[in-house]
Amino acid sequence: MGKLSKLLSVRPEVGPAVLLVLLIVIFTSINPKFLSILNISNTLAFTVELGLIALAMTLLMTSGEFDLSVGSVFGLTPVIMWALFNGTDIPLEFAFLFAMAIAICIGLINGWFVTYLKIPSFLVTLGMLLVARGTALYITDGFPQRTWNASDEWLSAVLVGDIQIGALRLYMSLFWFILAAVLLHYTLQKTKFGNWIQASGGNAHAARARGVRVDATKIKLFVLSSALAGFAGIISSIRTSAANPNSGTGYELEVIAMVVIGGTALMGGRGTIVGTVIGIFILRLMRNGIVMIGVPGLAYNIFIGAIILGMMALHSWLDRRNHSGG
């Protein structure tokens, strides 16, 4: 028991990994089609878009902050890009860069309010959630922007082009997700910047006293969060052939749930990209699996809530058991 709790404490992603395997076994035993090529292909396509946001959120939450505006930025960024492309003569590449610059500016504003005005990130990003969503609705009059005229663009192929491997269809977005996961895992665990992220969330006062640029670190992470939310929104708009100003509504809470289930501490100081990847798949497989085994889709939130509570209880128990110092 002692060795198990130590392992779970040192590797917080082990608990979620066991849960993920259990879910796959249970869903597959009830409905063998759960592991069918078609189902895997469909699940992966949507999973990685939310996953990109969750990866950035992991670093931000490890630094002791979080971002409620990601769902709105997910909706606003593609709306800006397609409104610009459809309404003017400018090329898609420029529209893409302009929309991404807006997303980056939103991250900068969030970071500036939190670090320089010392306003809690909960309030700042709640305000930005409304500003971004309101802007998306205002500039579109509430109507989706058409995106099907982008099918011949090389940018579309790079962002969401698909590869057929036998019956399995994989989207380019999976490549972007894997690339982001590898880079951010390396950053968090192996680099000086990663050490500063953990220190900023663990004890910002102590980190500042050692010369760590806590505010600059947090601003960079707010920018990363907004940029990846915008990037994921653009990918989603091309894949679904629509830039809906309401898309991404409620994503912020689902993304935070993915990160927390994976073992990242809600109050900062400890984070794991591997755990978040597992958390992403737990939530997506739950959504997909409960429908496939015949549970009404409306019951989804009951299961997600129960998993969050269970994982919180596990991490809390491990912290108390293994950390003797006081």
Binding site: Y186, A199, N203, A206
Partner: protein, 249 residues
């Protein structure tokens, strides 16, 4: 007389109409352990905050090794060889011993662009430092601070100050909330720091702890230094207590 390390001349600090420090002069010599005593509100913490760069003085000058310096931030103090160890150790409990030791000064391996930490070097140095500072238990440097006792945490903080060649280590209430054995451990860490040539300013509420390790005692009262050359070998605890409370006059 050894080298004059720190000299504070006429240093003052006011918060609006309230004077917390009123023109204080303090000197610390190399290899000297100075005990700073005073009742609550005497100005000890303000003096230490000024010296450690946590707050800016309203007036006066600070010189380090004869050169006048500006202390506008804690990093200014660290750059000038002054490390402060608070009662909560100012460590990040989620990080390992090695990562805490090098926080803010992480050695980089390979290309600077990727900023990869040289963890093998950090852990090797941490192991050596833990032995040097006097931790007898075999604690791996990858252990998170949260798994250490209060005394061990203070030892890590002192080890960090020693490694980065700090000339002056300020210990602000380092024995608060510690048991008897752990307190003795921290006092031994202070003696080890002195033996390796570091100067210390030691602040504690418990006068008996101060008497065990310091070379000289400085007493503050109402924002001023009222005695700065008390020899603990020739003075009693009672006499110092009378100076602290003002019963000597």
């Amino acid at each position: 007389m050894s080298e004059l390390l720190v000299q504070m001349d006429n240093v003052s600090k006011s918060y609006g109409p309230i004077t917390a420090l009123g023109g204080v002069n303090l000197s610390v010599y190399r290899g000297e352990v100075v005990g700073l005593l005073g009742d609550n509100g005497a100005g000890k913490s303000t003096l230490i905050k000024v010296l450690s760069g946590a707050v800016r003085a309203t007036g006066g000058t600070i010189s380090i090794k004869g050169r006048q310096v500006e202390m506008n931030s804690t990093t200014d103090a660290i750059d000038n060889g002054i490390e402060t160890i608070y009662q909560d150790s100012a460590l990040v409990t989620q990080l390992s011993i090695a990562r805490n030791l090098f926080l803010g000064r992480e050695p980089i391996k390979g290309s600077k662009f990727f900023g990869r930490m040289d963890e093998a070097k950090m852990e090797a140095v941490a192991s050596e430092l833990l032995k040097e500072v006097g931790i007898s238990k075999n604690i791996p440097p990858t252990t998170p601070i949260s798994a250490l006792s209060g005394g061990e945490r203070q030892a890590v903080a002192i080890a960090r100050a020693m490694h980065f060649e700090s000339d002056l280590i300020i210990l602000d209430e380092p024995t608060n909330n510690l048991g008897v054995a752990e307190t003795q451990g921290v006092l031994q860490f202070v003696r080890n720091a002195k033996a390796s040539g570091h100067s210390c300013i030691f602040i504690a509420h418990n006068i008996h702890h101060v008497f065990q390790v310091v070379d000289r005692i400085v007493v503050m009262r109402r924002g001023a230094i009222v005695a700065d050359d008390i020899d603990p070998k020739t003075t009693t605890v009672d006499a110092v207590e009378r100076i602290i409370t003002g019963m000597d006059s």
